[in-house]
């Protein structure tokens, strides 16, 4: 029987990078990493996934952008971002030193935009690209790229040649066949998968007798989605050979352990860091304590055991 280790090894390997721990700040919930500096230095995290970038700047959605639900948060931000050019020229030099694992999240509404945006960002000093395929495809009736295996694979195949960095594809839980989309992305050249993005959901203001959000539906995150996200992470991790980064409602170190046991290589945490700015480093500490208490020397011991 192994000796319980007072300081377990939290490190994980992801696409050739060694992360000090498996907790990555999720895209859209961490700005560009600078905003958290009054609270802690993000080098305490495994990595950072940036606010979603698009080829051109976007103002984002009007109207209400947030709506709280029981154990959850709905958002309809609309990919407000300064565009890839401003990111590469102005923001990236400021944030490059914040983390050894800087993941640039890139979205788009048509394949040509994806290719141009990924090409520009991948050529800059980032460590990895995370492809957001949950955006609606304007050339396909607004159906999200990530909903169908064929559409998802076509984006991944298109950006693969211009992406000289590890390419992680962020899957939408709204896919018709999530495992099918995952396998198609792997086949098309993805180096890793992250899941899940927010669940498409609806809130109605019954007094006003209309939808809360201008876009009618919005994305649901937070603890409400954890059990579904965990099941989906396990489904995908068992189907593909590439690493899977799990996320969805993680609030504690034990939640991280659950995703690792479901087969995740690492995790991302989003909403919990909005509820409480210092949540992510606390989760890392909780994971270390959990591993020490359970006599787990490293995460490989528990990865995929369920």
């Amino acid at each position: 029987m192994p000796m319980p280790d007072a300081s377990p090894d939290l490190s994980v390997e992801l696409c050739g990078l060694t992360l000090s721990n498996p907790v990555i700040a999720a895209s859209g919930c961490f700005g560009f990493g600078e905003e958290i500096l009054p609270f802690y230095h993000p080098s305490r995290l495994g990595g950072i996934s940036t606010k979603g970038l698009t080829l051109r700047p976007r103002q984002g959605n009007g109207g209400i952008r947030l709506h709280e639900t029981r154990a959850g948060l709905m958002n309809s931000i609309g990919l407000q971002n300064p565009g890839v050019d401003a990111f590469v020229q102005t923001i990236l030099p400021r944030i490059r030193g914040l983390t050894p694992c800087l993941i640039a999240n890139v979205g788009g509404h048509e394949i040509a935009d994806f290719v141009e945006a990924v090409g520009m960002v991948a050529a800059a000093d980032v460590d990895m690209i995370e492809l957001n395929i949950s955006c609606p495809n304007i050339k396909c009736g607004g159906q999200a790229f990530g909903n169908r295996a064929g559409d998802a694979a076509s984006v991944v195949r298109a950006v693969r040649p211009v992406c000289g960095k590890p390419l992680m594809v962020k899957l939408s839980p709204n896919a018709d066949d999530l495992v099918g989309v995952a396998l198609a992305c792997e086949e098309a050249g993805a180096d890793a998968l992250s899941l899940v993005n927010t669940f498409n959901a609806l809130a109605i203001d019954v007094h006003a007798r209309r939808a809360v959000f201008d876009n009618v539906t919005a994305g649901l995150s937070g603890p409400a989605i954890l059990p579904i996200a965990l099941r989906m992470t396990r489904d995908v991790a068992r189907a593909v050979k590439i690493p899977v980064v799990g996320m969805g409602g993680i609030e504690t170190g034990e939640d991280v352990a659950a995703f690792i046991m479901a087969g995740a290589r690492a995790v991302q945490v989003g909403t919990a860091g909005l509820v409480r700015p210092d949540a992510l480093p606390v989760i890392v500490e909780e994971l270390a304590r959990f591993m020490a208490a359970e006599g787990i020397a490293n995460l490989a011991e528990i990865r995929g055991i369920v």
Binding site: E35, F39, Q59, E68, P223, R276
Partner: protein, 256 residues
């Protein structure tokens, strides 16, 4: 900065649905409190798991390391806070946001408050008095009986009250209580229709206007872009670019 557990010292009803809460650090060994600028806010959350998110509440007064908040019960979050009793724990993150620049407020200063928009003006009025400003006027409008105005009158030259039901002061809107031309700067906090009227009045009079904005927030610290408003310089975050904005920069049509 941290999210600290504070202990509630008082939480009294001051008017129907309006409470004043004071809270201090949970342990005397806690680090020296961060200086709080008038117009800043804190994110407050009880230790109950629901609702998930903390609530942004502007600072009403600071006494040593004790923070006071004047707030209106509007939903589940403020209802939970209103139920707190002395000795109960409260999670406090802050101070947050860009508050009022006291150094830049000079001459004849008018504070315009609508309802719970009175909350940040007590601490601002004290800071202005301490900075030697002697020409500070408050114009405050309420639906019915006024609240939150009694204890900062020593800092003001003039207090003008309007109530919609005529229960006190002038019957009608707060904007009928003043002419922007009589002031060098107008500082406003209140509901959108009032803020829009203040902005328009200031533009017409050529008087500098300062608006303290309110928005739904998730994080309160600039991460989520959930609280943005439309301004002349693009979409800006109420939490970190504000909540205090130059009056002429805010567009009100996008979030009426």
């Amino acid at each position: 900065m941290t999210t600290d557990l504070h202990v509630v010292e008082g939480n009294e009803v001051v008017a129907p649905g309006i409470y004043r809460l004071s809270a201090g650090p949970s342990s005397p060994s806690a680090a020296a409190p961060a200086p709080v600028q008038p117009g800043q806010f804190h994110m407050l959350k009880t230790v109950a798991p629901e609702p998930l998110l903390p609530r942004p509440i502007s600072i009403h007064e600071v006494t040593g390391d004790v923070l006071s908040f004047l707030y209106e019960v509007k939903g589940a979050g403020t209802r939970n806070i209103a139920a707190l009793k002395p000795g109960d724990p409260l999670r406090v993150t802050g101070p947050l946001g860009r508050g009022f620049d006291v150094d830049a407020l000079t001459g004849r200063i008018l504070l315009v408050a609508g309802g719970i928009g009175i909350a940040p003006f007590r601490y601002l009025a004290r800071a202005l008095a301490e900075a030697g400003r002697t020409q500070v006027t408050l114009a405050a409008g309420f639906r019915s009986r006024p609240y939150g105005i009694d204890d900062f009158q020593p800092y003001l030259r003039d207090v003008r009250i309007a109530t919609e039901d005529g229960s006190e002061g002038v019957k009608g809107w707060v904007t009928a209580l003043y002419s922007p031309r009589d002031f060098d700067v107008v500082v406003a906090c209140g509901p959108v229709p009032m803020m829009r009227a203040v902005q328009q009045g200031c533009v017409e009079a050529g008087t500098r206007g300062i608006l303290s904005m309110e928005a739904r927030m998730a994080c309160g610290v600039g991460l989520c872009l959930g609280c943005t408003i439309r301004t002349t310089t693009g979409m800006r975050r109420v939490c970190t670019d504000g909540p205090v904005f130059p009056g002429e920069e805010v567009f009100f049509d996008a979030h009426a």
